[in-house]
Symmetry: C2
Subunit: 326 residues, 2 copies
């Protein structure tokens, strides 16, 4: 059986069964944004890793080396944000590249990594550079300290809780479409696609304020919220009118002939946080974190998005999945 027959998520589900889920010192194993193990004297270490492949996750035709470095670290910091933030983190970078690659380009990647690290208090402390004649890839591993006595997970959403989201959604997808059409980087959505701003501070505050579940938006609102629902054994109901859209997204969508709500529901890589918290805390979260309350956790399963009339919107159920042939 080929990987393409079961797809990325099918493969991951099979491999998860083979991995360690319980071990001394291990608090959270496979299946969350990061693995978490205990620190002595309170607090936890979150441990996460991502890989980006040229031609699959980035296209150097419209992503600068600097942006590539920045983003490859930012997406890992975003995983940390989804666990409840961190005061200090450390990162290692493995870079696979061919001998014909320009040294200045590699240095630009590292400049991007450092810029992101400085902004989010993450130290890029080393890594590996290996020969990869077939194509470039970047893999970043990150360890971050969570100082509190608990952390945010995907499996702790309960019926009756509210679903909230930081910032606005859809911008990154629209920015990606914008760049793919060969248009200028001087567009708010394009910049959000190239230089995502992980919500590290918001994750930390949300944990402190009593949020229970969280995930970062990497695959799209509907898909990522579905992960929370599956892991928690619940369903979710989202009000379409409450999903936050930026003026830039509205404008860029118009220029592209795209539907901004569709981009917000299904477009990925916004690296905003979906937060779930007790119903009574919603106003406090709105005031202190500026989040939008977009819906509620329900008994049952699956994600529904409702029009103002109450009618459910037909969702794009296929979404985009690696390996599966279209």
């Amino acid at each position: 059986m080929q990987v393409s027959e079961i797809g990325e998520f099918g493969l991951i589900a099979r491999l998860r069964r083979m991995l360690t889920t319980r071990a001394e010192g291990l608090v959270e194993g496979v299946g969350d944004d990061a693995a978490v193990f205990e620190s002595v004297q309170g607090g936890f270490w979150a441990f996460t890793m991502d890989a980006l492949v040229e031609g699959v996750h980035f296209d150097t035709a419209y992503v600068s080396w600097h942006a590539l470095g920045y983003k490859s670290l930012a997406v890992n910091i975003s995983d940390l944000a989804a666990m409840g933030g961190s005061t200090t983190s450390f990162a290692l970078v493995a870079l696979g590249l061919g001998g014909e690659m320009d040294v200045g380009a590699v240095e630009e990647i590292y400049r991007g990594l450092n810029e992101c690290g400085q902004r989010y208090n993450c130290r890029v402390v080393g890594g590996d550079v290996v020969n990869s004649p077939q194509g470039m890839f970047l893999s970043v591993a990150l360890v971050g300290h969570i100082p509190g006595d608990r952390f945010l997970t995907r499996d702790s959403a309960r019926p009756g809780q509210v679903v909230m989201v930081t910032g606005t959604l859809g911008d990154s997808y629209l920015g990606w479409r914008w760049l793919k059409e060969g248009k200028s980087e001087d567009n708010t959505c394009a910049r959000r696609h190239l230089y995502p701003q992980p919500r590290l501070e918001e994750g930390e505050k949300a944990l402190y304020m009593g949020a229970t579940a969280a995930i970062d938006v990497s695959d799209g609102l509907v898909r990522d919220l579905r992960h929370i629902c599956e892991e928690s054994g619940v369903g979710a109901e989202i009000r379409a009118a409450a999903v936050p859209l930026s003026p830039a997204a509205m404008e860029t969508a118009q220029g592209l002939g795209e539907e901004p709500l569709h981009a917000a529901l299904h477009g990925g890589e916004d690296y905003e946080l979906i937060l779930v918290a007790p119903y009574d805390d919603a106003v406090r979260f709105q005031e202190e974190l500026g989040v939008a309350v977009i819906g509620e956790i329900r008994e049952g399963e699956g994600v529904q998005v409702l029009e103002p009339s109450g009618r459910p919107i037909e969702l794009d159920r296929s979404g985009w999945e690696h390996f599966k042939e279209e």
Copy 2:
């Protein structure tokens, strides 16, 4: 300027200058086998990462998927061993593969990872699987706890100390040559190449017994010892007759028409430990760890290997370097 013009080590040297070497909580930055940061209440966390690329670091013509998984974790555990061992460690794996890959093969890789993890008390807790149509790669990141109040480094060798090595050298290189000729896996050297046994316990004991510097043999004895000399600002003198060779290496070398001493000096991937300790402790190390005492640290620089007559052996100065064209 292309990467091939300055080579792997030239590139790494440039990138090192760009990375964080000092930060709060960071004890050891770039330039050792692993980065090290402080744990609260004593002890340290060592953090290391490697990437293996198909066709560069492994050839599936003679490496089984199981061995690939095993080895990719073992080489990271070896980095941990070179810092002074660990009681507990956690690993993440990023796997880049094409959709045509067989699911059973991916599961075999994970079985190999788990087998190695179980042997060395390392929990494989998650990772990432990404689409990489151009070729396969594996990247492993590892975090391990070092319980003591210090750890082994590359920069702490001092003139007058002894240089020791665990096990025997050259086996892995000879095993690799053996496999490349299409011969059976049923050869001690071939097995050592496919299933290296990192010296985790020896690293931990050596730290406890007062060793100061260490490195694992991944690029070959001469080259790796040179790293210690460069980082410590010293030289080293090795007695060729004292370099430990296994009966299997002697026999396999004969079958291949290779020189076993050359394999031991320049062949890599043995994942034995080079240990440096005070002169007076040499006998104790020999008795308790079964190491071979192979030479001494001197004032000056560089590595010299002496014949019994005292004449220095002509060393293969070029060695094998990624990216550089032969």
